[in-house]
Symmetry: D2
């Protein structure tokens, strides 16, 4: 079984969790979604993240989703599973379960109560210890976690917690953070871990320029992330920027807190990837005005993509 390592690169798409209109899990759409992501050229999948509506699932449902994704992929791509929990014991329980089923690694966000550098460090040290030899992704997302982790604290974690192999980078702004982390590893002071970027891909070209290895985010056109990362790796910076700009108006709209996920699922449903764009309660639905906005953005995007031959 492939395990996540510091060498991970490319696009790990944050998968949505498909529901029926009535809120029931829609496992058939899971298969179609997995196929869609794979066809789009992603390098891995991340399930049960915040935007996978993980906290709304029962333990049993979480298990079903992970199993379904793993079975469909059949080892062709690595799968990261979000296991953030209010305490170490339930986190460990979930991690053990999903690794046993074939996940490549897990992802852990800090609890909102962390307020100091030492608390952040201590938390991830405990996480590393609790997870044993399971590789994990440090999810750094201050906008929703309320926790700020400065580069030197991440460096301390990298040094002392060997199973921390990846940073899901979504501090905002965070370009200087990538630069600082890469400076540490370039000087040989720390391991060079994988850095994949979130924030809906809104800063992807600049993040690649600073030394990121790719994206871990769920924008409804994964072809954007795949394209930008490929062009960047190939050295075609102008093309990467042009491609990025074509998708940016919609990506920006999708990055709104709360309503953004509804927009993402609306587009995925429209694209035939999932059966319904419904979120499980409690969550806002798109209004008619929101839908009109999205449709307008889709039209303009299609036009612009045609112009640039993408």
């Amino acid at each position: 079984m492939t395990r996540l390592t510091e060498a991970a690169r490319g696009v790990y798409v944050i998968a949505v969790t498909p529901f029926e209109e009535n809120g029931a899990l829609d496992l058939e759409s899971v298969d179609r979604m997995v196929d869609f992501y794979e066809a789009a050229g992603v390098d891995g999948l991340t399930v049960l993240g915040q935007l996978g509506e993980a906290p709304k699932l029962t333990a049993e449902e979480s298990k079903l989703v992970v199993e379904r994704v793993l079975r469909r992929l059949d080892g062709r791509l690595p799968v990261v599973v979000g296991v953030s929990a209010p305490g170490l014991a339930p986190m460990q329980e979930l991690a053990t379960a999903v690794m046993g089923e074939g996940a490549a690694g897990v992802m852990v966000a800090p609890p909102w109560t962390i307020k100091t550098d030492d608390q952040a460090y201590g938390f991830y040290q405990s996480v590393g210890e609790a997870l044993g030899d399971t590789p994990f992704v440090l999810q750094d997302y201050p906008l929703t976690t309320n926790v700020t982790i400065v580069p030197k604290v991440i460096d301390r974690i990298i040094k002392d917690v060997p199973n921390c192999v990846m940073l899901k980078h979504e501090d905002w702004p965070g370009l200087a953070k990538i630069t600082a982390l890469r400076a540490s590893s370039d000087k040989g002071e720390t391991r060079r871990i994988s850095i994949l970027c979130g924030n809906g891909g809104l800063f992807l070209p600049e993040e690649m320029g600073r030394g990121a290895d790719g994206a871990m985010t769920g924008f409804c056109y994964p072809e954007m992330m795949v394209g930008v990362v490929r062009e960047h790796v190939a050295g075609n910076l102008e093309r990467a920027a042009e491609l990025f700009a074509a998708y940016l108006p919609l990506a920006r709209y999708e990055q709104q807190q709360g309503i953004g996920l509804a927009a993402r699922k609306y587009v995925l449903a429209k694209r035939g990837v999932i059966k319904s764009g419904a979120l499980r309660k409690p969550r806002p639905a798109l209004s008619a005005l929101d839908i009109a906005d999205v449709e307008r953005l889709l039209s303009a995007q299609a036009k612009r993509l045609a112009e640039i031959g993408a």
Copy 2:
């Protein structure tokens, strides 16, 4: 099976969760602890609360603790179980399980992300719906949840959510809140629900004066809460105040965030209630200086209790 109702009164003690020094669950101490609380004259128990270190337990361990408490009590006292979870589905799952085993009701704190009156109302409306006919306690503890719920929002919840039967009141300061809620029910605008007060009992005499029905907190001398509530109900306000004052220096010390729970368990272990005062990781232990403080407070408290013949 007794179910929690609006008529609940007296002291519902917040039970600690006993661990061995090595962090393993100590179920034998659970029995002794249950006996101790019952002998102290409490009217009910609350388990798996924040100060019961609930987030550190696996699902299996949570189940074991609840079962053990229920079996030992054998229906003699009602048991409330904390079921706060990151989402409605896992909360519902846990509530169904514990009610099936014989719990009297459950307790739910709001997620820290709530920022407006309508969000707080909406959250508890969803909780009430998800819990069906399970009676629940609204835990109002801004200092740790970061969520402020004003009296008129609580009144709206009381009106619209029939299975909300109790408020665990630990806003701080919160005397005016009790007064406002009682004014609403006295005028017949809302149901009169049970109000039991937390905050380590630090404002218990004044809270009783405002119309609270008792305490739901875990101070290591439950005889303080039991005594203050009884004297108050009997109209002996001066005696209630005198008794309260004798315990106040220690109660204040125990109310410190973080270190307070360690002090509570230290005293309970010293009193022979639980085998070890250990907290499960990650949590601070008492320093030698902290222990010296506690010992000094215990001596002064014993002296003062002797003086007042308590």
Copy 3:
């Protein structure tokens, strides 16, 4: 003297405060900046806002900046002055001073300690009373103030506080908020106040579509806001969107917290508007990598603007 009213429309640009490299106020650049904004076609200026580095100025310096702007404009455009202060008395003091010098109105953000609907309402009621007949702008910027004010609270303020004539809207996401506020006034339940949008203009086309009257923000190309608002008012939605998209990559970059203002001033200095892009301490400067990012974005923007003939 023109006073700000509910009829205000168009673009009120958030002016930067120019400093010399050594941190001294640069009043000569103030003149040039005022001329630049006027030439760009803005409808008003807002000075001493958060992004005008107001908190870093002494009382004397604040007075100098306001006087200089007012003198240069000589009444040709209205000027709004930020007067947020830790208390009502100093706020009133500053408002009285600037209105005496010829400001059109003032702007007030809520203190971060506000946690409930009633506190937000009570704060603006006190502000309205303290300001007497001075018209004021309610600045609704949760990302930096930490205060969320829901539409029905804004409606209550509009009803009860007659000198609240404008909303600087920068909730995020906030499209539904504009829709809700316009629904209230369309139904005749509230006054229709002016709504100008912030957030660096990142949602300007959609905000205009929801009923906003324009923008109040400081993006370094005010011609973007002016153009988008004009095209929108003229009904040319596709042109508005195209223009907007051309500037979006840079606008997004400039919207980064902290570093964003440095990028804004860098571009304004490069464009010859202000002498130096320096911020007053304590503030980060742009790194060489940041500058390279900005330059790349400027090139791509120039190319795209040429393509669309703008």
Copy 4:
């Protein structure tokens, strides 16, 4: 002119700001209050603190209060002035003014936006630089500032910022913090600065036991702080604890956020120290029930003080 140094000891009382019922400054009461504090045996005064309602004063009023206090004291006791401001420039402006009039030092709290160790350090480094040779007190009050500063950050500040001469310690819980800071200076790693404790004196005996030099807080019976500190210094720990316990029920009541200051001023007015207990708007007044609580606490306190011969 006496200047504040690391050798400061004893009780620096946080002075209230007296207002007339109509909200006007009551400067005559300032004189009486200064005399009262001096007669109670305090070692210094702190004015324009958070609980001195400083943010509600105009610049002119702040000046009047400071002048009046300084004139009345005529150099007999040192005066510390709160100069916290949204930016360095206005802070420097106020500090220069009050030092020129004869203040002994100033006090600075951190802005709520600080989130990391380095930001806290950087802020106080900038403060130290801006204040030049003015000695200052670092106010560490997480409950109201939302900023947590760990001991090692305070140690860095002590090392690098020579004019930081005192810590107003009101972290909660904070006993371990005092222990850590004293360990650093005992080992010779840092200067030994003065540590005076806040939090209404609620932990004063334990804080003295950890190496604090006294109290800086405003409890309406300054004789409590003076007595506890004296007995402690004299080695009479049991007497200190007994005295403390007699005042604790009231001190606890007064420590409630918001309503606590109203209780403090109510008692000071009742004791004839200030003419009115009124707070300036916007602030809650005591209800009849609150007043009844306070009166009950005063009676019990008088009885207990008589019993112990204090």
